[in-house]
């Protein structure tokens, strides 16, 4: 009989606790409104995009429909291969400048690659950045890329001759995955 009373008391306490903690929900209205704009920064093809690469290949520069993605395919050989003016970073915003950073998410991994750099120049030929494509990381903010301004992208690849043959390619293929990041400010780093 004593045990029954204790059980009833425990059930009552449990019911009371659940009533106290579960019944309060407060709802505030929040509206997220998207007003997309055309991209102020876009890629365009450089002077040598689609030009002749080694052994009759083509320097491949592919740009997405909205000019906001870029794929470069080149055909280097042993030693140092410099690819010039492959693509252009354009600021189509004629009123505002933007800071730009380059992030290497997945670097080249083939051990035969001694050096791989992505180089950015302004329209006067001044070097803006040298990005190491063999390590992950993000550059500091570059620029700003002035309103209506253009930057030009080169790539420099050096491949070791060691163990190579004149009759074969140094290796089959490799790729690097990057991001171009831009922002109207440089107060804080890109997440």
């Amino acid at each position: 009989m004593k045990a029954e009373r204790k059980l009833i008391a425990l059930l009552a306490v449990a019911a009371l606790v659940s009533i106290v903690n579960a019944s309060v929900f407060v709802y505030y209205p929040i509206t997220v409104e998207l007003q997309p704009t055309q991209p102020p920064i876009i890629f365009s093809k450089g002077k040598n995009a689609g030009g002749q690469d080694l052994y009759g290949n083509t320097i491949g520069v592919s740009i997405g429909d909205a000019n906001t993605s870029l794929t470069i395919t080149v055909h280097p050989t042993y030693q140092t291969n410099y690819y010039k003016n492959l693509t252009v970073i354009n600021n189509t915003d004629t009123a505002n400048s933007y800071y730009v950073a380059i992030r290497v998410n997945t670097p080249f991994s083939n051990s035969k690659i001694i050096s791989a750099k992505l180089l950015i120049f302004d329209s006067s030929g001044t070097n803006i950045a040298v990005v190491d494509l063999l390590t992950t990381g993000t550059t500091s903010w570059l620029g700003p890329l002035s309103a209506g301004g253009k930057w030009f992208v080169d790539i420099n690849i050096t491949i070791s001759e060691s163990g190579g043959s004149p009759d074969s390619a140094p290796f089959t293929s490799d790729s690097a995955s990057l991001q171009l990041i831009y922002s109207p400010q440089r107060v804080e780093s890109a997440p």
């Binding site: 991209p39 890629f43 002077k47 040598n48 030009g51 002749q52 690469d53 080694l54 052994y55 009759g56 290949n57 320097i59 491949g60 993605s69 870029l70 794929t71 470069i72 395919t73 080149v74 055909h75 280097p76 050989t77 042993y78 030693q79 140092t80 291969n81 410099y82 690819y83 010039k84 003016n85 380059i102 992030r103 690659i113 494509l133 790539i155 690849i157 491949i159 001759e161 060691s162 190579g164 043959s165 004149p166 009759d167 390619a169 140094p170 293929s173 490799d174 790729s175 995955s177 991001q179 171009l180 990041i181 831009y182 922002s183 109207p184 400010q185 107060v187 804080e188 890109a190 997440p191």
Partner: protein
Amino acid sequence: MRYFFFSIIFLLNAFVLMISLHAGIFTYYPVSVFLSPVAPPVTFAGSGTYPTIIGSANTSAVVDVVANKALHVYDYDVGGRVVVLRTVTQSLTRGRIFSIQWVAFVTNYTDPSGVGVVLQEIQVNIGGSPYYVSIYYYGGNQVYFQGPGTPTYVYPVDMSVARVLNITVSRPAANRLRISYYVDNSLAYTYDYSIPRGAAVTIYSVEGGRYDTSNAYDLYVDDVRIRSVTGVITSEDFEDGVDDFFVNSYSSGNAGKVVVYYTFPKIFLLARNNDTKTYACKLIISPLTAPVTASFYVRNSTHTSTSIKIKNSVIVGETSEVLLGGGSYTYMYLNITAPLTTSLPITFNLQFVYRVYDSDGVTVYYPITVEFG
């Protein structure tokens, strides 16, 4: 205190407002770079002139250039002169032969008055009168054979490289001299000259340079070989650092002769285009400071580039381009000189550079090391 508190609140609000105005907008575009390597369209091959180590893919080279010695005959003074000369005084009787041979290369040639420079000459006295059998150079790609009793014979030959010159004078008959000129061991010109039957013929001297002033040049001479009328061979290669041959030489002004380290212009490396496309190629050199004068250039079958020029330091750092057609070769030349006091070896770091013709989309650089010494 209250005023201070409100100031802090105001500054914090302003900071938050500034952050909210400028921060938080980061746009990310994806970029991919694909490498699809190819076999080298252009590969190196040794020239056979110098010991050469070629890399495993034939895209690098280390060339070991032996520091040969030669006689440098120089005239840097349009009012000065230099004649290198050896008196021999040998009687050329019937049936006897006399010849002189050496390697000659002339460069930096300036001759506003057209007096020429003698690359090789024999003074022959016939009946007591001097006659000269000569090979002259007046610039360009030809030499001039001059001798008694015949018009000057013009012989076209590429003078951008050294030539083995030889003059042979013989007396096949008592009343006849035969004069023969050889270039690179091939007979270039010969003729007979009639003389009085009983005339005394004396080979008096052999020489090079120029008595007349008003020109300026560098003349390099090596591997001298003289065959006397009795068939005795005398030679001089200057490798002991001393000129024991041209012992009767004379000069005036800023002109003279000196034994130096010297390489005649020679091919030191070949590059072959394995592709069907045409490439444009050239040489460039890294900065260098050394007591050396050198030039490097590139040739294809029809054209020669301008030269890299070094005089104690790099004066001109790259050549002009020459075209390298599909399946063809280009030839790399060097020409180095240094005083015998120079500390050897000297290392030249070059790069062979090529690009697809009519495009600067891709440029490829192959390293070349030239060790001189």
